[in-house]
């Protein structure tokens, strides 16, 4: 990333970039922060400079240790300003920038996606700086992954699929047990196994069965898994800050012919999307290929979310496999194919797979198990454990 980062700075005639969006922060620093998206206000900033020796992270005192333990080589400045809005954070940023005596003072900023109040305070605090909005440039930079990033994403995919397999293995013997198997316990086992396979964190966790699976997301369900249902489970997890976005669909008890056909339709459309993942093609052409195939094959699919998206230091990011994304697929882009089709009861069926675009096509990163056949959960053990 470093050489491309330096080129981006040069092309924009910037001496540094200041990033506060949590994903941009992670991307530029290599530091994973603990749930920064869920604090009331942004709390950390990174200033990355042409001269790496001048790089600085500004973060709450309680996060200083984690920057060092993750190998951050630059300076770390603690900033504790709870209850003071953005003012103390901006004061510390201003102080760090003034210390570095940039001339002529062009600094990039992920401005478009930062809170308006924060942007205003920054500009007021540093009127001598010419701020360049590099939000799009950072997005473009993040879209093309390095080999190291691809390795992390591949490992995150592996952790996710191993977690699904393990959770299914725990559950499947009990599906016909009168005591049943709790939905929460199944979902929780996915999360637990992500950790056991060395994942660093988890995000979305959701399992929906039968008619509930018609929903994209729902309030967490209670009760046990019932035989005779299509079940869709979705999750996101990360490995050292690099995310996987997964969904797998299975059936409890012996599947009906309609279940099998519906699942087959989903895989057929996903394969169409996969075939369209070629360097030089636009993202929207992948979407259109699915639309065309769905029409030709008479398969109804849920078009609202598109058919996929990028993944990296966030669980969903550019490029987007949607009708309007003109981005050209390039080697190094990593995309999640997320094609949703309908089951017999209008359940949303999805089996996500992650691919890296290569010189000639694409390579599957979520290879741990082949999910092209509908996973059938059967079993009668009293308490498999």
């Amino acid at each position: 990333m470093d050489s491309r980062f330096q080129v981006m700075l040069s092309e924009n005639r910037c001496e540094a970039i200041l990033a506060l969006d949590p994903a941009n922060f992670s991307y530029l620093s290599g530091i994973t922060l603990p749930y920064p998206q869920q604090f009331p206000l942004l709390q950390a900033a990174i200033l990355r400079t042409k001269n790496q020796a001048a790089d600085v992270v500004i973060c709450p005192l309680e996060w200083v240790h984690l920057t060092i333990s993750q190998g951050w080589q630059g300076q770390t400045v603690p900033c504790s300003g709870q209850g003071s809005g953005y003012e103390r954070l901006v004061d510390q940023i201003a102080s760090a920038i003034k210390d570095r005596k940039f001339t002529p003072g062009r600094i990039g900023l992920d401005e478009s996606i930062l809170p308006a109040t924060l942007v205003e305070l920054l500009k007021n605090a540093l009127p001598q700086i010419t701020w360049i909005d590099l939000t799009q440039a950072l997005t473009d930079l993040r879209m093309i992954k390095s080999e190291a990033e691809i390795a992390l994403l591949e490992e995150a995919c592996r952790q996710a699929d191993r977690a699904y397999v393990s959770a299914l293995n725990h559950m499947e013997a009990s599906i016909n047990d009168p005591l049943g198997f709790d939905i929460w316990e199944f979902t929780e086992r996915i999360r637990v196994h992500m950790g056991e396979f060395c994942g660093s964190g988890f995000g979305n966790l959701l399992t929906l069965q039968g008619e509930d699976a018609c929903l994209f997301y729902a309030s967490p369900r209670r009760g046990v898994l019932q035989p005779g249902n299509l079940v869709r489970s979705e999750s996101t997890n990360h490995h050292r800050g690099y995310w996987s976005s997964s969904a797998r669909t299975f059936v409890t008890g012996q599947p009906s012919a309609r279940d099998l056909a519906a699942y087959g339709d989903n895989i057929a459309l996903k394969n169409v999307a996969h075939d369209a993942l070629l360097p030089g093609k636009t993202c929207k052409s992948v979407y259109q290929a699915v639309v065309d195939a769905a029409e030709e094959k008479g398969i109804e699919f849920w078009a609202d979310p598109g058919v996929g998206h990028g993944v990296g230091v966030s669980e969903r990011e550019a490029p987007f496999l949607t009708p309007d994304d003109d981005s050209i697929l390039c080697p190094g882009m990593v995309v999640v194919l997320a094609v949703y089709t309908y089951g017999p009861k209008r359940e949303l069926i999805c089996s996500k797979d992650t691919y890296v675009i290569t010189e000639n096509g694409s390579r599957l990163l979520s290879w741990y198990r082949n999910w092209d056949k509908l996973y059938v959960v059967i079993g009668d053990s009293a308490r498999h454990g």
């Binding site: 950790g195 964190g201 996101t236």
Partner: protein, 391 residues
Amino acid sequence: MNIQTILEKAQNAVRKEKFDAIVAFGPDNAQYLSGANLPFSYYRRDQVFAVVIPAEGQPLLICPGEWESAVREIGNVKKILTYRASTQDAAAAVSLLKSALGELAGGRPVIGFDRMKTARQIEILLAEALPSVAWKDCSALLDDLRMVKDADEVALLEWLADETDHAINGAIHHVTVDRRTTALTMAEELRVHSQERGVDLIGYHAAARVAGDQKDIVAMWHNAPRFGYSRTDDFIPGDVVRMEIKNSLHGYWADAARIMVLGDPTPEQREAYGWLVFLREAALRFIQPGKKCCEVYRLVKAEADKAGIPWVAQIGLGHGIGVAPVEPPFLADGDETVLRENMILVLEPVIQTDQGAVLYAKDTVLVTPSGCRLLGWYKDWREPYIPIPSI
């Protein structure tokens, strides 16, 4: 949760502050006003999720099309406008807002938005799309609304605090000093026991974290970057163990931390725990309606300084809790908020011992008419948990 009470409260505030409407873009604010608890919305900020509260009439929610079924199932706002996922989500959402807000009274409507949480890009698009609108920051109004809980919110947050402490006790009950336990198994026990008591299974920061050994106990955010999981090192008899969990139900939170000592506490361990008790009791004495948050912080700090307690005061003394596990007000030097009845706070003083151990407990308190009341003590935490030595 009776969202109607929240909506009435919000509309009264909108009228009182002479807004024609307010728009909440922050996912926490949008969740608060709509009841639509979508944990992933915090992580997909490019997808606009906004709630409009007009001075008169029904609220309106704007979200991506694929979220609609979830918003209808979980939330309470009936009028929902959706846009198709694209590379231009912000523009699409603002376009919907333009048509919706265009229905407001003519002239120059005054519309609030939570500028502290609204992307600059959206602010620009709003100004371009609706040039006749006087846009004003309503962040303080929303913070103010959220800080004082209604009766349903108090009941839910108290239940969460109760059951979380109950879950912690249920989990630590399994510990025997001379039997193998690891930080990881302890953390997972905390989650499982919480689930068994009926909290929602969600992800992200609804994590349990346990620090049991020397390399972990010296940091608040140990085991980086594996914040979602704890280490597999065995507990060692005599160690101090720090346990922490965040639990959620219907979008509201508990944020708890407790200390366990694996054996009879040494004099140093007793002293360190005593400091946490001292800070908690000082806070409980000073928290009362009418006092400013910064005033409580300073009063506690003065007592801590006088007693020579190694409190890491820069981190603050505590924070509010509600639809987010950390939210205003903050018991910190920079917060001038005046405490009011029915605010709910999490006390979180952090100490660091001479040996470098970072210790904290978290207690939830409700501000009452005359002071405050501790919530959620399954056991009396004037002493740490001490498991049985052997079976």
